[in-house]
Symmetry: C2
Subunit: 260 residues, 2 copies
């Protein structure tokens, strides 16, 4: 049995001030060395974006560090993936035993994985060989009630710390909002798409501009093997995710159409 | 046979001024209606990031539209994915027959797909059901010589226009730089990782800051089924890519470790 204190990396995409990351840290084990390295403000929908030219700075937040726990709180003026990379390069004492991201204010179910900064950080840590889990609550509000998800956060984090995860597999966990959670379903991400994606405005000079909006539509609403089926029914969902988007089983088909 | 003029959406992540996108458009068929909707400046490594709160504006560039071809050039003050989404919402006359992105100044081989804005746009179009191809040249310079890649750009674009691509499959094409291209290999993305990712600096006030750097290391350099094997040997590579990062074959394993 490993008696060393676990090292836990925590990040998110809502920024270090968001209540979700503070609730997440409260649910982590007392015997761990916890390093929070989170964006200095909201970075929703930043996917796996990197900061390429802007200087990145690390800012310490001793005012966030409670007495009696080994918590180190730092913010970075970058994306969630910047936070993971910079934590590994310049902050952490060793490769962490787990990376947890969230708890996101809002859903990352269905095809939201593609855009999610919460999951961008998880996928980054996964590529670095770190067992990684993203947590999201289906409530965008900064006043969201995370209390009913914390038991599962604690349990899943503990089990991943104990068991690890397979090579190139990380987890995307979503919690229903404002309900008692009926259970946990391990499923696939629902195939889904967005509608009505922009609202059009006219500025005082007569020029048009656009703001993003829209609804996520479940393409197969009766498929009970997917996250978008179970979340509205009061269940939390776990989706195994891989960073590897290459699709080798399609190589013969592509060779055929390209003669290559 | 479909006698309608093809509609082609073109974007990139280096911005509308980058030579690579102008060379790409020159390689497209004369009988097509071409819509270039590209970022108004460099957006490298923006992955699938979305602009959430900043108003998006579309700027026309009639000065870029040559006589005698049906080319419509527009820039957007957002990410590559914003360009695709906004093109679909507010610009294109119908769903395009193909989306092409690039030609990127720099490699998108190995695990670069994760961070690439060029491929973010391709993956977005793919989720919308559009056959989509990203093109990249292994030369970051703005003076890069794209001439040797244009024959293959033309050929691959034509074949994808003629044959389409399977559901949720898009293509990531990379070209070697400064060499005669020996052929085209359809392969998997090499498992790979980055080293030495940040350089540390001290500003005039004594505060540290960081800029990203680093090298992409091929984890399996002898695997001739991968892009990073063939590119240094003078071959262009095609990798089939899927937007779907969910990994349903891992569900039983995850259920087992989580008891869920």
């Amino acid at each position: 049995m490993n008696t060393e204190r676990p090292v836990i990396l925590v990040t998110n995409d809502d920024g270090i001030q968001a209540p979700g990351i503070h609730r997440l840290v409260e649910a982590l084990p007392d015997n761990a060395d916890i390093y929070v390295v989170a964006p200095d403000g909201p970075r929703s929908a930043q996917s796996s974006a990197l900061t390429m030219t802007n200087p990145l700075r690390i800012h310490r937040h001793p005012e966030m560090e409670p007495a009696g726990r080994s918590e180190h709180w730092m913010s970075v003026n970058g994306t969630p993936v910047d936070c993971v990379k910079l934590a590994m390069h310049a902050i952490l004492p060793r490769i962490p035993d787990i990376c947890v991201s969230g708890i996101n204010h809002g859903s990352n179910a269905g095809n939201s994985i593609i855009y999610s900064g919460t999951m961008g950080a998880v996928i980054e840590a996964c590529t670095l060989g770190i067992p990684s889990v993203g947590y999201s609550l289906l409530d965008h509000s900064m006043n969201a009630d995370f209390s009913k998800s914390l038991l599962l956060v604690r349990e899943i984090t503990r089990k991943v710390l104990d068991n690890g995860l397979p090579h190139h597999i990380c987890l995307n966990v979503n919690f229903p909002a404002n309900t008692d959670i009926k259970g946990l379903k391990t499923v696939a991400a629902a195939e889904s798409h967005w509608t009505d994606e922009y609202r059009e405005y006219t500025d005082p000079n007569g020029h048009k501009f656009y703001l993003i909006t829209g609804d996520l539509i479940n393409d197969n609403p009766d498929d009970d093997g997917t996250d978008l089926y179970w979340l509205p029914r009061g269940y939390a969902t776990v989706v195994p995710v891989t960073p590897d988007q290459s699709k080798p089983d399609m190589i013969p088909y592509v060779r055929d159409i390209l003669n290559a």
